[in-house]
């Protein structure tokens, strides 16, 4: 009777001291904390901390098992419970560190995706003004898909993959628009701009005697000059190859030079409402064309082309013609009545002030 009472008292005492079995609460809490940390999105960025937490958990579990295998009255789980608590804390710390680092990497990835998006906007600005060759346009489309993929990966929290995809898209985008940007350099060339300014000044002088037309390709602008000043401004669309200087038939570039209206085509005489036929190719164009042929810059069998007009049918908001200058029909009507055969027409790339290509180049650089 006495012995049974003593055993009962001892059992109650041992349980009160936490000596009966490995305490389940800290054990479950430690497991839960480690599992949560190891599946958290930031776990890849806290590998070292997770290793430390895992070692601590393994040691705590070993402590538990050791105690559970001791003779019942000698068991003491207090140290094991403390170790489990510490393992739980380490796992939580690892999760926090991983999340912090992941957030930082995600911020960096978002910044790179933002750069790719900005470059995409510049590329779209460029292709809205000029047509890229099909292969480059296809490459640009691939690059744009990579931007979309990078955005999706960022939203999924896949920072590393998003960053890599965004960097790849930037590289592809530069390869796609690089040749076009190189062509656009002439819009910032001091020599080229000086020549265009001379032509503009010449047109201004000419307009003191009779109205003259000035087309600024880069600004999509046609000015009617009278007495040295612009009296009319019209939005103008030029050849789809807006960056190029006309070299031959089919290159979709609007020629740059000093021309005259050779013929006025009224309603019914042009498929684009009304038209002013220019005297392209002139002497300078032929000289340039022959020189380019001799230098092998264009095929020997290439034709210089012709039928360059200022016509209606414009207002599409993009450069689309095969080399002509297109105005809205109403603008064409207005211009048509103000000019006559022989009116001087000067077509330049730009005037050296901020235009579509020169400003785009400055931003891309």
């Amino acid at each position: 009777m006495v012995l049974a009472l003593a055993v009962a008292i001892l059992a109650v005492e041992l349980r009160a001291r936490g000596r009966a079995r490995c305490p389940p609460e800290p054990r479950l809490a430690a497991f839960a904390a480690f599992e949560k940390a190891s599946v958290s999105p930031g776990s890849a960025w806290a590998a070292d901390e997770l290793d430390v937490a895992k070692d601590a958990l393994d040691k705590a579990l070993l402590d538990c098992s050791r105690e559970e295998n001791r003779t019942y009255p000698l068991r003491d789980f207090r140290a094991a419970a403390d170790a489990l608590k510490r393992a739980k804390e380490l796992a939580s710390e690892a999760e926090s560190r991983g999340e912090e680092r992941r957030a930082k990497v995600l911020d960096e990835a978002e910044a790179v995706v933002g750069e790719a998006r900005e470059l995409e906007a510049h590329a779209l600005e460029l292709v809205a003004k000029t047509t890229l060759p099909p292969a480059q346009r296809t490459r640009l489309q691939r690059a744009r898909l990579l931007v979309r993929e990078a955005e999706a990966l960022v939203s999924q929290g896949e920072a590393q993959a998003a960053r890599e995809r965004a960097l790849q898209s930037k590289k592809e985008m530069r390869r796609a628009v690089g040749p076009a940007l190189a062509k656009a350099e002439r819009f910032r060339s001091e020599d080229q701009v000086a020549t265009w300014r001379d032509w503009i000044e010449d047109a201004r002088r000419q307009s003191r005697k009779q109205p003259a037309i000035l087309v600024l390709k880069e600004k999509n602008l046609l000015l009617l000059l009278e007495r040295g000043v612009p009296v009319r401004r019209y939005d103008a669309e030029v050849g789809a190859n807006a960056l190029g200087e006309k070299a031959r038939q089919g290159d979709r570039a609007t020629p740059e030079g000093r021309y005259k209206v050779e013929k006025k085509k009224d309603l019914g005489q042009s498929i684009y409402h009304r038209a002013l036929l220019l005297d392209y190719p002139n002497k300078d164009d032929r000289k340039r064309f022959e020189g380019a042929k001799k230098r092998g810059e264009i095929p020997r069998r290439a034709d210089i082309g012709g039928l360059i007009e200022i016509h209606g049918g414009g207002g599409r908001g993009q450069n689309w013609t095969d080399g002509c200058v297109a105005l809205k029909n109403a603008d064409m009507d207005d211009l048509f009545k103000r000019v006559r055969v022989g009116t001087r027409v000067t077509i330049v790339g730009g005037d050296g002030s901020d235009g579509a290509f020169s400003s785009l180049l400055a931003r891309v650089k």
């Binding site: 497991f31 295998n69 099909p134 979309r148 979709r252």
Partner: protein, 199 residues
Amino acid sequence: MKRISLVPVLAAVALFSVACAKEPTDAVNAAKSALDAAKAAGASDYAPEALAAADSAAAALDAELKAQNEKFALTRSYTKATELATAAKNAADQAAAAAVAGKEQMKAEAATLIAGVRGAVDAAKQALAKAPKGKGSAADLEAMNADVAGVEASLAEMDSAMAAGNYKDAKVKAEAARATLDKIVADVQAAIAAKQGKR
């Protein structure tokens, strides 16, 4: 007749039975193999929670085995280790099953999306073929065809990702391609409608 003492006999029987306790190698190996199989099935990607639970069960097993191995050989007992090995194997099997199911689901979703992209590429090509051709629209058509070609080229990458088992990546690519194609088709249809409206 000489009397045989019962105590030494019972002690000998007890010692003999305990000394026979051996590590449950088969059960432990089965648990380890199951965990490896779960990882190989892609559990870290497709069933991370189930894999973490299986890892925890394996950790409990390891601790118990170590504790037993530290003990004097005659006092070892692997009853609990056997139970833990069974639990670890079950957890790993569950992780593997969840991974296989998750992966199959992702594969099916990606395959459906890619099929949708192929269909959308065909639809875009047909729309472009029907688009009115003329002097003024040649550049637009050329650009749109080039855009469709860009998306079509990405189909090869999707197929490669599927063949390599990178279903998540294939899905991301397909979703991006589909959204882009839908935009192109809408642009083509708008251009056709605008052209028809002018007539």
